[in-house]
Symmetry: C2
Subunit: 454 residues, 2 copies
């Protein structure tokens, strides 16, 4: 591989200014889906840019912003897809930006702009890789697809409909997903091969028509107490989830899974110090900490409210209470099944008065570690970055990767150009230019190996 | 008694227009302590009015609004005190008033105005009773004191300091307290001989410096869960308070207490229907319902909040959670002791991370049922109202009566001119003129019996 890619890497280095200018151009175009800002212009920019590679490009209409779909079909045996999105998070609060969010600024080796990391830098690192390879060799080693949606930051409401409506566009032999960071201190590149599922529910309880004077508390049901009692049956103080049959379907970590954990560097002390955390749950550390973080499901109260929450005291019996819970799901679990288990669990304990509203449900997803795209990613990181990668058998969070790739049985991997202080979704979003250039090289190398290895 | 009081009652009837005009005059003067509105003028109005009875009156300075103290010392064996307050609740929301709050309006036998019930009508029912008796007999049967504070609606912050600073003014043989209502449907007069205590606390938990992404939920402590788990140790699903030793100091109801319950008419079905309550706690009814309402303590979650409580979903680990709890305390319990028990209880279970903030603490209070003032009240209600009274050995709520009378060992009783739809603290506050006139007669009769009975 090395010899074959050297000219491509040299080309990338020689044209780094041009590629950085391209990133500045993309980041200068606002594209805030939540605010309907610049979406038409941005979709056109992506369409034109992908066309420059000789791709057949179209804007595929959806109920929201179009998906920009591009395809370079060279009649090769393998097809590789790059998933990205062209929308960004709102830039607010504006006064916390050192330089304006849509006026990219380079300082101390970093480029600052909304979208620099998430995910215009990511998109262009894929584009530039294809461009450089083409410029050096004329032909590409595999067929390429670009799927670039415009609604990721508002929850990708039309991505599943797109997947279902266009199986031909979705069909592929592997996906390089958006995003991807480096470890704390800009350490090793993180390579992620899957994510947990997410089941987000709201529990609601109404116990009376309106709040009543708390002198009636001996006899009038209190919605807040009802909810507290119901919640206590969901998880105990050892952080064990106590919903009946909750763990039944889980596929436990394999030896291979545990081997991935072993090699993973997770700096717990630093995470605790940075976030003012006295101790992790159950005082965990070492391999047990990593195992719980990555391979165990959660039942997280994300919010709860009932009754009087202002200053001082008010003596009232809350008639209404609600809480929001997100369940992160691991291999074997199913989001809808979890809601069903929760309903049965609450009913069995007399909590028919607790209503369950399901806000979302995504199943867990993991790529096959033996798949071409995973193997191609794993074998190139150390060569490019000079350090063994941090391999996440699955991430602790959830992305659209799961709902997009899972049902189609597509293998996907994520690696990218962010770092731990990229301020994604926050003011002063940034990436290191060095990480951007390395990301282009990494993508090019992965593409070549994906196409040519055994 | 009857013969002696007949001329007084006749005088009251003959001068009812005059007494109603006086109520209109008082209700025309705004006196909103929370808004510093008209307090000086109102204190002067009370001072002048009490002076008309020949009382020695002074405005006793406090850190807030003065207490108007008046004394008619006729060298009698017994001294009776009338406690009232000259401040009212804010009248807002103004647009819900049919007629303006400080322009008293008489419609369908009721007078509508802020303060008509709470508590200018109550104050004047005492004043008019003394006036009428004086007009008929020249002399009063007992010494009289008027203690009229100006901060009841903002929590009486200077009433305890007044009590401690002026033991001579507080000294008495019995107090008729403010307020007092009638049963639902304007049924029997309620006579109340005490109240529960109140211990209001806030529980606070901080688990991290700030909220974190919920992908970290497997390992990062969640303040909302900590609070839920702590709360679950405070009360169980049968509404049994499970704080260690919480019930130890309680003096159980006596046979006399239970006899009072027996005679008490409490229309549970109507309360449930009016408030949209499916069933009372533990499906209680009858005597058990009344016993729990009046003779059992509570641990009421008045409010709880943590994390994300807006629309839709946000995946966050709350770093901070708080809840407000009001404990209503019964005979034998002490507010400070309850806080101490709660602290020890939580510590014993590893909840040192739950902070307790005490907002207020008032001990329970009950008058001696054999005291002169209680006996005088009980023997007159049926004669004046034509129905046996509803006797509350203690109310389910809490008033300043307890902290004022309890420490001094003074017996107090409450009966008054409100009814169940008096809209106290709400728009269109009102009382029936008939109840006002009967309240004057009741007060006069109680004063006479208090002074003269064995």
């Amino acid at each position: 591989m090395d010899q074959h890619m050297e000219p491509v890497f040299a080309y990338i280095d020689a044209h780094s200014e041009e590629y950085i200018d391209l990133l500045k151009k993309f980041c200068s175009q606002p594209s805030v889906a939540a605010q309907h800002l610049g979406m038409v212009e941005m979709a056109k920019l992506v369409e034109d840019q992908v066309s420059l590679l000789g791709a057949k490009v179209q804007q595929v209409p959806t109920d929201g912003n179009p998906v920009v779909y591009g395809e370079i079909d060279g009649g090769k045996p393998w097809t590789l897809t790059f998933y990205n999105h062209y929308d960004v998070q709102p830039p607010e609060p504006l006064d916390e930006w050192i330089t304006p969010p849509f006026e990219p600024d380079i300082r101390d080796g970093r480029i600052y702009a909304r979208g620099a990391a998430d995910n215009k830098g990511s998109f262009l690192s894929r584009w530039c890789a294809v461009d450089a390879y083409q410029k050096v060799y004329g032909d590409l080693p595999c067929n390429i697809k670009f799927i670039t949606e415009g609604e990721e930051e508002i929850g990708s409401p039309n991505l599943d409909p797109f997947r279902i409506a266009h199986p031909d566009m979705v069909r592929t032999d592997g996906i390089v997903w958006e995003g991807g960071s480096k470890d704390i201190n800009r350490g090793p590149l993180q390579i992620t091969m899957g994510w947990k599922g997410l089941c987000y529910v709201e529990l609601r309880c109404r116990a009376a028509k309106g709040d009543m004077h708390s002198m009636n508390a001996p006899i009038v049901p209190n919605a807040a107490w009802r909810l507290v009692w119901a919640l206590r049956t969901i998880k105990d103080e050892n952080d064990h989830i106590t919903i009946d049959h909750f763990y039944d379907d889980i596929i436990p970590p394999t030896e291979e899974d545990m081997a991935y954990l072993e090699q993973l560097n997770y700096d717990g002390d630093r995470v605790r110090a940075a976030n003012g955390i006295d101790h992790f749950i159950n005082n965990l550390s070492g391999i047990a900490l990593k195992e719980k973080l990555l391979y165990e499901p959660t039942a997280n109260i994300a919010g709860i409210e009932s009754g009087y929450t202002g200053e001082g005291s008010k003596t009232v019996i809350p008639s209404y209470a609600f809480c929001k819970i997100d369940f992160r799901l691991v291999q074997g679990q199913d989001a809808d099944r979890v809601v069903q288990l929760l309903r049965e669990h609450l009913d069995r304990r007399g909590f028919q008065d607790i209503e369950i509203i399901q806000h979302s449900g995504k199943n867990p997803y993991r790529a096959d570690t033996k798949s071409r795209i995973v193997r191609a990613a794993l074998r190139n990181a150390e060569k490019i970055y000079g350090m063994k990668p941090s391999i996440y058998r699955n991430g602790a969070g959830t992305t659209a990767m799961g709902s997009f790739c899972g049902p189609e049985g597509i293998d996907a991997v994520s690696f990218g150009i962010d770092h731990m202080e990229s301020q994604i979704h926050a003011p002063n979003e940034n990436i290191y230019l060095e990480d951007y250039i390395n990301g282009i090289k990494m993508t090019a190398a992965v593409m070549y190996d994906f196409a040519t290895m055994d």
